[in-house]
């Protein structure tokens, strides 16, 4: 990867549903670091217009809470594009990348950061303690990855 490649990190999830807010929390903390060539966005859910935004970047990282990935987090390339139908107003990362490719000619490499969460059923703006610990490890990993620009490593669960 060259030094001037543009990176976008999108954290998504509902901060009012406990650990579902892991994605936006990661986004907030990464944004606070003001990393060069890195843009951070945050949303409750992904929607079709995100395809226009991701098409402006070389590397896209989607950050979301995961109910079942290994602890503390997983990070893997998003190789499969989504050809199926959308059933709702919100879309999945693979669908965003498919639209970016088909509509805007995006060649971006996309990655999925899944942070293990535990409490999703209750309302509340706080993350569980275990989820917070996992998030800190995920942030260290992502910051290191962005600084070293080593995006060619294999999928990993850490």
């Amino acid at each position: 990867m060259t030094d001037n490649q543009k990176i976008l990190l999108i954290g998504f999830g509902n901060p009012a549903r406990a650990d579902d807010g892991l994605g936006p929390s990661v986004a907030e903390k990464i944004e606070a670091q003001n990393l060069p060539n890195v843009t951070v966005d945050s949303d409750y859910q992904l929607t079709v217009e995100d395809s226009a935004q991701v098409a402006e970047y070389d590397i896209v990282i989607f950050a979301d809470a995961s109910q079942n990935c290994a602890e503390p987090f997983s990070f893997e390339p998003l190789n499969d594009r989504q050809e199926g139908s959308f059933s709702s107003h919100s879309v999945e990362p693979a669908q965003v990348m498919t639209l970016a490719e088909k509509l805007f000619g995006s060649k971006a490499k996309a990655f999925m950061l899944g942070i293990r969460g535990y409490e999703f059923d209750q309302f509340g703006a706080s993350l569980s303690e275990k989820a917070k610990t996992n998030m800190e490890k995920a942030i260290d990993f992502i910051v290191d990855l962005i600084k070293t620009k080593n995006f060619n490593k294999e999928a990993a669960c850490f």
């Binding site: 509902n14 009012a16 949303d43 409750y44 859910q45 929607t47 079709v48 217009e49 395809s51 226009a52 935004q53 989504q82 050809e83 199926g84 139908s85 959308f86 059933s87 709702s88 107003h89 919100s90 669908q95 498919t98 639209l99 088909k102 509509l103 805007f104 309302f123």
Partner: protein
């Protein structure tokens, strides 16, 4: 032997619903219902919260049209804080936010949820009949849909602070104005948006006119229509008085102060759905149900106060000889008239220097009850709150747009089932999609109507008259 066909959940709508169709031994439809199967309960758990939180908290109802709830709650809270007339800057910022919301919501619905049915046909291969299929075969249209939606979302971000669940509207006003820099960014692209909005309107109009013979009876029926209208009868999506008309265009009531809505509207509960069934009191539940949303708004208003949308309205009304248009599939055409209207209004507002004003909030005599209504993308939205002297909400009643359209959606399902499913030798995916096409015309937001987040695979189950399962089909 009778059979029961269940479509659960319905796809390409927001939220979780199902359709059940009861067939007799000759595959004739004897009953068809659209059920809402998840429970909202939102009115209960906001009780006890301070009133000033409402414009932010109620947006959690929905990630799709949170601005509608944000603004309806803010309008109700204006009443609570005694803000009877907002400053020009506050009202125009809210209006700009609302037109941005209407634009993005309608664009998403038309281009990405409905256009697959219109462009490829209701029976087309489901592997093609989706937004990726549209992206491959009609790329320009798909790009325009994305960019119109994006523009609307950026308007929301600039006025509300965030694209989803913003904080711009506060009791008595707004917490920011629009900077000249923000304004200039939007003005730079507004002409392009007008071009695309005209194009979208043409697609919807041409589809309806060219397929009039097919769409005229499709899920269609005579109905009453309800919306807010301005005091001079103009369409107004942000504020107005209630007007209801019958299928012939006769006024049932007009210019009703919406704070008196309980004198005119009541809600019925049925055991098979969590969604309530509103009706016009004077007509009773059997005859008093009504439609809301784009079709109702274009029917009820006397005119639209932007020139291009007004021309489009006249063309629209000419199809039914200036009587109310009761064609369910005409919702799409009406929705695109509103897209053009929204872009025209955004253009008008961006050129208004009041948006750069600094007088943002007013307050007056504190009250204990507030009602706020507006025309959300999907139709009339009612927010009603009572607040005690400790500033806590003690009662909340929300009638969301999709709830207003509950009986009409059921009627549409019954009509399509009777016309297309009855007597069919085999219940195919394409036939079932006919049912969904009729529901989708209303752009229902079932999460909103029931407050439950839902994914929507499609599950179809056939039952015999004794309730025994014969066959189940599922699609993701």
């Amino acid at each position: 032997m009778s059979k029961r066909v269940i479509i659960e959940p319905v796809t390409r709508v927001e939220g979780h619903g199902k359709v059940s169709i009861l067939l007799d031994e000759n595959n004739k439809v004897t009953q068809a219902r659209f059920h809402i199967v998840e429970f909202r309960g939102f009115e209960r758990f906001i009780q006890g919260r301070p009133y000033w939180e409402m414009p932010v908290v109620v947006q959690r109802l929905c990630g799709i049209c949170p601005v509608s709830h944000h603004l309806a709650a803010a309008k109700a809270m204006d009443v609570i804080v005694g803000a009877d007339k907002l400053t020009p800057t506050a009202e125009k910022m809210r209006r700009l936010m609302h037109y941005g919301q209407t634009l993005q919501s309608h664009a998403l619905h038309f281009f990405h949820l409905c256009s697959p049915d219109l462009l490829f046909g209701f029976d087309a291969d489901v592997q093609i009949r989706n937004v990726i299929g549209v992206a491959l075969k009609h790329k320009d249209l798909a790009v325009q849909g994305v960019m119109l939606r994006k523009y609307g979302q950026e308007i929301i971000k600039a006025t509300a602070g965030k694209k989803i669940h913003g904080t711009g509207a506060i009791p008595g006003g707004i917490n920011k104005n629009l900077s000249t820099n923000e304004r200039d960014v939007f003005l730079k692209d507004i002409k392009q948006m007008l071009v695309w909005a005209r194009g979208a309107l043409k697609v919807a109009k041409d589809y309806t006119v060219e397929n009039l013979e097919m769409v005229k009876p499709f899920g269609s029926f005579d109905s009453n229509h309800l919306s807010l209208v301005r005091s001079d009868g103009a369409m107004d999506l942000y504020h107005g008085n209630l007007r209801a008309i019958d299928a012939e265009g006769n006024k049932i009531f007009d210019q009703v102060d919406y704070s008196k809505y309980l004198d005119y509207i009541a809600e019925e509960v049925k055991s098979w759905s969590y969604m309530k069934f509103p009706f016009i009191k004077s007509l009773g539940p059997e005859k008093g149900w009504y439609r809301v949303g784009p079709l109702a708004r274009v029917n009820t208003c006397d005119f639209i106060d932007t020139p291009e949308a007004e021309e489009a309205r006249k063309e629209f009304m000419a199809v039914t000889d200036n009587k109310p248009n009761n064609i369910t599939m005409a919702y799409h055409w009406a929705r695109m008239i509103e897209v053009l209207h929204s872009v025209e209004k955004i253009n008008e507002l961006l050129n208004d220097p009041d948006l750069q004003g600094n007088d943002l909030v007013v307050k007056g005599e504190r009250r204990n009850e507030g009602i706020g209504l507006l025309e959300a993308p999907r139709g009339t939205l009612f927010h009603h709150y009572k607040v005690n002297d400790d500033d806590q909400v003690t009662m909340a009643n929300l009638i969301v747009s999709t709830t207003n359209n509950n009986i009409p959606m059921n009627r549409a399902v019954q009509k399509v089932a009777a016309d297309h499913i009855s007597g069919a030798p085999e219940i195919t995916e394409g036939l079932l999609n006919h049912i969904e096409v009729a529901i989708r015309a209303y752009d229902p937001c079932l999460s909103c109507a029931t407050h439950a987040m839902g994914k929507m695979p499609l599950k179809v189950t056939l039952f015999d008259y004794q309730g025994n399962e014969i066959e189940t089909k599922t699609k993701e």
